[in-house]
Symmetry: C2
Subunit: 434 residues, 2 copies
């Protein structure tokens, strides 16, 4: 049996431990929801005061050049590119994940229409994050494609000659299951299918090698593992072989070859800059840099190899402790045990009918009871079919979560279950945001 | 002749004067570029510290509900709606002007395709702000429309039965000339043409009555007269009769009828919420509220009627002083003298060939020499045809610009011209952002 002392020993040996001090975490909170909204870097407070009071307040319009606002989307892209296996000049931070997905799906649809007009399908996962499916639905409607939703085990067989585009999220938001990006991409390319990857739950959380996997397009958000702040601008990447083939349709002035020439005709910039559109929110974008800077610092602590090793150790420990200490309460594991198939979160299921008065699974109330104790995870509702069950979701950001945190989180879960306190009235108002 | 004392007397009588104290303006600067980037509200410093350190740092994921982040786009829209003649539930702040324009132009193109498929043209102004033309170019390409660019005096005659959409910017960014929104919209509607208005240079600067004018769609930015901060989220409005007719194509989860049900099919929300897409940058959006709060406060000081009266008095004074005190240097007036046709800026031209060594107009160097003296305006290059000349552009935000500022600005301009200091090397590196 694993003990508290074992966990404390793991923290004592943790080479990444100093990075936890880069974050301002509330007293008394064990934060296992960094896969929804990352924690606040301490540097953000000073940085945001500087950008508001000095750069904006004192520098005013001159800060577009003097403070480097104008190039920040590209500079942040270059800074973060190595963490996803991209090169300099291939990534920009801009707009939102949904909007960036619209850009790359449209580009992919235009390329497919030109290269392979007979292909009629865009495939994705039924339990993909909904906004991805909504955007795909819109693009399919515009380009005459059929959106085909699959279960994970159906994907390999569906990569056929009638498919134009595969749009998958690398790590599933509900289960934490991770696709083999290189293998899926290779199988898709063997059939002439373009691959679009959503990295919302993998950027900064797991090793990503877009060029190694030979992916075609990728998008992702910065407010989860990257700790960029609520709604911080998202990122977009396109493989250099495709980047200049088509305009994306959101052809705003920041994507123009010469945005400050103010000419009436659109001429897209060469390279990823053409995926920019309008003026970006510089206060939010400046704060985002504080999150990325911690990744840059993490290079000195072993980079992604060290983060991944710790992430797997944290999630392994959580699974082990739940299984050792929370038996007999109807919990199950939705996340793969196999390391190669796991992101940086663990999702538990609970049997239907074990909820209050025998209704539902009780998973939502258990999460609320944990939050009341300061253990912040979140809940994702099932679809009622039994295939996609109610989920208790716990994210483990190796930059700031420690092994003792895992111990206490499971101990709180054990107490919540054994005491029955989750059945108290009040633990039942939905307030979840991915 | 107007004197400094006359200007000081106007400041002494200015009922809006207390609002200037709401802004943190740099010492020694006369800021006449609020039509490019508005000044920093003093409240922004405390607000941004609160949103970063308390709401994000301490509240973490719970702030989406507890701090009201989730509803901020709609709440800010409701707060500002009266200033543009819109009703509650009709405006949201979100994304960028370019992206919002893409949404409404696509919606308009879809409506036109259904209602009037024989119409083939989208008309706009040749000197419209370029990003509007770039987005229109993209939408025209997708919907098989022809983008027709006109001079202002050609517009009335071009409102014919072959036009599907008129896309105009209410106040021109280069000249400060203002269209008669009600008259143009009525003439367009008489021919069955949909009217899209860009309010970037008019929201908060001049009276706007979208519903009074019976406009169809409108967009605008918040970082100019609204003082929302660099790149703060833009706004979008659709007339209630049109709002639910079509999806806009950026069908992200925040525009879904039930975004947190996480269903795989897109069902757009009723109302302006369907013009939302992805997760918004909450740090920037929270700062934006500080700018809008000053407008709310301005209601007590006479609201838009008082702001407009002061704006016209400021721009009248600037024109008069330039004409009285800067004769003989080749300056001309690009902005209409007629009040009904003027926004809140004054644009001067300068004769070609009067620049350094007889090249160009010298307008750029004059603006740089003024900036070096702390008088911040900006420069917009002409198109070399003589029709659209080089512009020295000065914006007058009545919330914080005073009459004595105008005196000193013109006095600096006079000294720059008479001393010839603008001809010094170094006043010639382009750094303009609208």
């Amino acid at each position: 049996m694993t003990t508290l002392q074992d966990c404390q020993a793991l923290d004592a040996q943790d080479a990444l431990r100093p990075l936890r001090e880069r974050f301002a975490l509330p007293q008394g909170v064990i934060y296992l929801d960094g896969n929804s909204l990352g924690a606040q870097p301490r540097a953000a407070a000073a940085r945001v005061a500087e950008v508001v009071q000095q750069e904006w307040g004192q520098g005013l319009i001159t800060s577009w050049n003097k403070a480097g606002w104008i190039t920040l989307p590209e500079r942040l892209g270059d800074q973060f590119a190595p963490w996803i296996g991209a090169g300099a000049g291939e990534v920009v931070f801009t707009d939102t994940t949904s909007i960036n997905l619209y850009k790359v799906l449209t580009a992919a649809a235009r390329i497919a229409r030109e290269d392979a007009p007979a292909r009629t399908k865009l495939i994705s996962e039924r339990s993909n994050f909904p906004t991805d499916l909504y955007i795909a639905q819109s693009v399919c409607q515009e380009y005459g494609l059929e959106l085909v939703l699959l279960e994970p085990e159906e994907i390999a067989g569906a990569l056929q000659d009638d498919v134009a585009i595969s749009m998958l999220t690398h790590v599933n938001y509900r289960t934490g299951a991770m696709h083999d990006m290189a293998a899926v991409t290779a199988a898709a390319h063997a059939r002439g299918i373009l691959c679009v990857w959503d990295l919302c739950h993998s950027a900064g959380a797991v090793p990503v090698d877009l060029k190694g996997a030979d992916a075609d397009f990728a998008v992702g958000c910065s407010y989860k593992y990257l700790n960029g702040g609520p709604g911080a601008p998202a990122f977009v990447w396109a493989h250099p072989r495709l980047i200049n083939r088509f305009w994306q349709p959101l052809s705003g002035w920041f994507g123009h070859a010469e945005p400050f020439k103010f000419v009436p005709d659109y001429h897209p910039a060469q390279g990823i800059q053409r995926y920019l559109c309008g003026t970006q929110p510089m206060v939010s974008m400046s704060v985002l840099q504080c999150g990325l800077d911690i990744y840059t610092e993490a290079e000195r602590f072993g980079g992604m190899a060290a983060l991944r090793a710790k992430s797997l150790a944290l999630t392994d420990l959580f699974i082990r402790l739940v299984e050792e200490r929370c038996q007999g309460h109807g919990l199950g594991l939705a996340t793969p045990r196999e390391h190669a198939a796991r992101g940086s979160q663990v999702c538990l299921t609970r049997e239907e009918g074990l909820g209050v008065e025998g209704k539902d699974s009780g998973a939502y109330a258990i999460v609320q009871a944990l939050i009341a104790r300061g253990v912040i995870g979140d809940f994702r509702k099932g679809d009622g079919t039994g295939r996609h069950k109610d989920i208790l979701r716990f994210g483990f950001t190796p930059l700031y979560v420690g092994f003792e945190d895992v111990w206490h989180a499971v101990e709180h879960l054990r107490q919540v279950l054994e005491s029955g306190e989750w059945q108290q009235p009040g633990f039942n108002t939905l307030n979840a945001v991915t």
